[in-house]
Amino acid sequence: MQKRTDLIVCEECDAVYQRMALGEREIARCLRCGAELERDTGRRLQHLLPLTIGALILFVIANTFPIVTIELQGLSSQTTLIGAVVALTRDGMSEVALLVLATTLLFPLIQLGVLLYLLLPGARDRRPPGFVLLLRLMQAARPWGMIEVFMLGVLVALIKLSNMAEVIPGPALWSFGGLTVLLTVVVSFNPRYLWHLWEQQQAEQYGDKGTGA
């Protein structure tokens, strides 16, 4: 098989187009179905690493401190994300606990971790080991990270609780808020451009040769 870098195929309707060089912040769209074909990443790649690190730090904070404390008649109770998962397991709902753990801890962590690993300087001149597998893993995990939904869920739960008890937000709540914002930015970066990042550099370094089938 032969690589055709001059072509681009619409993922949603399979239409074939000529691949154009995009100007700054330009988006190429399919003529037939309007799906996004390609976009100019611009400086977003450079922003990605600090945002990833920031997101990871916030992630750690959000999981080590309690999200919220409630007080009722002098009794108080607080929980972290992991605490909620443990409580679900103890109640016998271990499948739901696993689901929550995966969507709010595991998959976002995979995404952030892989990005960090791949973007850290030192991996510039060649692909870091495991690049292919890790990037595939990250792409698989991408639709399953649901921290922003979790954030909204926490807010709904807090409003529900504020009727019956006094609700005191903990440090993790703000961390989750910030994490939601950062993650949205990080995740919106389509990892397919990472594939081409290294390709470009490989091409620049070793001369242009298509990989034979």
Binding site: Q46, P50, G54, Q73, L75
Partner: protein, 542 residues
């Protein structure tokens, strides 16, 4: 948006030269992780700085304690938290790891005490009910020592007196504990001012030593002249003096209690020192009575029936209790050939002596001289009817100027006091006198004429006189005495049952409070029945 669909048969365009733009934006983006890192580190640092020392306390059981949740409180302020629960190596107790806050660093002083606050029912009352809902917590009492310790042994019961309670400890000695226990209240003028802290059997087994603690500022009312007595429950007395009912407070019915007061309230005494020792006696009257001095045993011989006289009956002098009857016996006097009833009494002549001495103002004489003088004046012992209700007799010592002269031998042991027959005997004497006198009247000389008429008249008159005499001397005083007693009893009963009697007011107050409490509980349960969710959701706004 550039639709990239067009033919490529246009001439190739020149490629513009691409220069690298200098981006200051990336460095701005790096601000985000830096800020996040700073926030995280600040949070961690705050936690670390707020941490105080770590101590380990051992308890017999960890019931109600949860690692990471149970708090340690002092005066209801949280000063730390339980971090870990572990079994000791020998499994005899539980090691509770406690992380104290920074501002509670004084709590690892060597003499700090820790205990678990759980719902508890003790002699002093029910405590810790709030923990039924909130879960147990650990209470602490700060120590004052300079040295610190890391491992403590927890108390199994909350201490009665915390270190910061001000007041003084005193020591009481008593025969038996009665209904007292640790925590039993101490009353002063019916106000609870302290409690029993500890008690112990004496080493010789003959008594009990109690340690009590009286709170400030009431501890200054414990003076050198204070007397302590058992104020437990009801104090009922039914004896020759009448019917008496005492109680300090209804709580003492359940818990027992001790009350104290100065013996002589006119005089101001200095406050007692810490650790002063006192005797704890049975009741208030026992506490308040004057010192008896040396008791004296005396023997009394009565020639009449002793029915109604019991050991313990009072020996009374014109209303002042001089002593008591110790024992009654029967003796056969061979010399005289008759039965005698010796009654052994114990009297405290000091009581008499002091009064007498105060009244007459004479110089203090020796006992012997005193006795001889008194007997010469007519002091005799007599049996009298004490109580209509019980038919008790008591021994009365009084002055009878008309009594037959008697001798008293002050050196005889036991001392024998002269007695005088009771009123019944006197009556017999008088009757025989009258009969003698009557028989001396020269009926023959007055006239044979009147003899037949006067014989019948005389006979009638004699019988009438006899009856009248009997009524006067025999029944009347008795009835008088009986009515006096009845009045006394009725007075006492009236006092007890009158409206402002202390028992009444206590009962009434308690009933009122119970009624109030029941009313408010009813309101609460009514509301909760209708709105069970209000417990969680709070009262709904209408």
């Amino acid at each position: 948006m550039t639709p990239p669909d067009h033919s490529d048969d246009k001439p190739a365009l020149l490629q513009p030269r691409r220069a690298r733009q200098r981006n200051w934006l990336p460095s701005l983006v790096w601000l985000i992780p830096i800020v996040a890192a700073i926030v995280g580190l600040t949070l961690v640092a705050k936690i670390l700085v707020e941490r105080g020392p770590v101590v380990t306390v051992s308890f017999r059981s960890a019931e109600g304690l949860e690692a990471g949740k149970t708090k340690v409180k002092y005066k209801d302020v949280e000063i730390g938290q339980v971090q870990s629960l572990k079994l000791a190596a020998d499994r005899s107790h539980v090691l509770v790891g406690i992380q104290l806050n920074q501002d509670a660093s004084g709590f690892n002083a060597e003499d700090t005490r820790f205990w678990v606050v759980r719902p508890r029912i003790a002699a002093s009352g029910i405590s810790g009910l709030g923990t039924l809902l909130s879960g147990a917590y650990i209470g602490a009492d700060a120590g004052a020592s300079e040295e610190t310790k890391k491992n403590f042994v927890g108390l199994e019961q909350p201490p009665i007196v915390t270190r910061d309670a001000s007041g003084r400890q005193f020591v009481l000695h008593t025969d038996d504990l009665g209904s007292l226990d640790i925590g039993s209240p101490i009353f002063y003028r019916r106000i609870k001012v302290g409690q029993v802290v500890a008690y112990d059997l004496d080493s010789d087994g003959r008594g009990v030593t109690l340690r009590i603690f009286v709170n400030a500022p009431y501890d200054k009312f414990v003076t050198q002249a204070s007397r302590f007595w058992h104020a437990s429950g009801f104090d009922m007395e039914l004896n020759a003096s009448g019917f008496k009912l005492h109680t300090q407070a209804l709580s003492t019915v359940v818990l027992g209690g001790i009350a104290f007061r100065d013996r002589d309230e006119e005089q101001v005494s200095s406050p007692a020192k810490e650790g002063a020792e006192y005797a704890l006696v049975e009741d208030e009257s026992a506490a308040m009575k004057e010192p008896d001095g040396v008791p004296q045993t005396a023997l009394l011989y009565f020639d009449q029936s002793l029915r109604g006289l019991q050991p313990g009956a009072t020996v009374d002098f014109r209303g002042v209790v001089l002593g008591e009857v110790k024992s009654i016996g029967v003796q056969y006097d061979k010399a005289r050939g008759e039965f005698r009833m010796p009654v052994l009494v114990q009297i405290y002549p000091d009581r008499l002596g002091r009064r007498f001495h105060e009244e007459t103002g004479e110089q203090r004489r020796s006992n012997a001289q005193l006795l001889r003088m008194l007997v010469k004046r007519g002091m005799r012992a007599q049996l009298r009817n004490g109580n209509l209700l019980t038919g008790q007799l008591y021994v009365a010592i009084d002055f009878f100027p008309k009594a037959k002269p008697a001798q008293i031998d002050p050196d005889k042991v036991p001392l024998e006091l002269p007695t005088i027959p009771g009123s019944l005997d006197e009556l017999q004497q008088q009757l025989s006198d009258i009969a003698g006198k009557l028989s001396k009247v020269p009926f023959d000389e007055i006239g044979r004429d009147l003899q037949t008429t006067l014989k019948t008249l005389n006979k009638t008159l004699t019988t009438a006189e006899q009856t009248a005499a009997r009524i006067n001397n025999d029944i009347a005083p008795e009835m008088q005495a009986a009515m006096k007693d009845a009045r006394k009893t009725l007075n006492a009963a009236e006092r007890t049952l009158s409206d402002d009697a202390p028992l009444q007011s206590d009962i009434r107050q308690t009933m009122q409070e119970l009624g109030k409490a029941a009313a408010s509980i009813r309101i609460l349960t009514d509301y909760l029945q209708q709105h069970p969710e209000s417990l969680i959701r709070g009262k709904q706004e209408p």
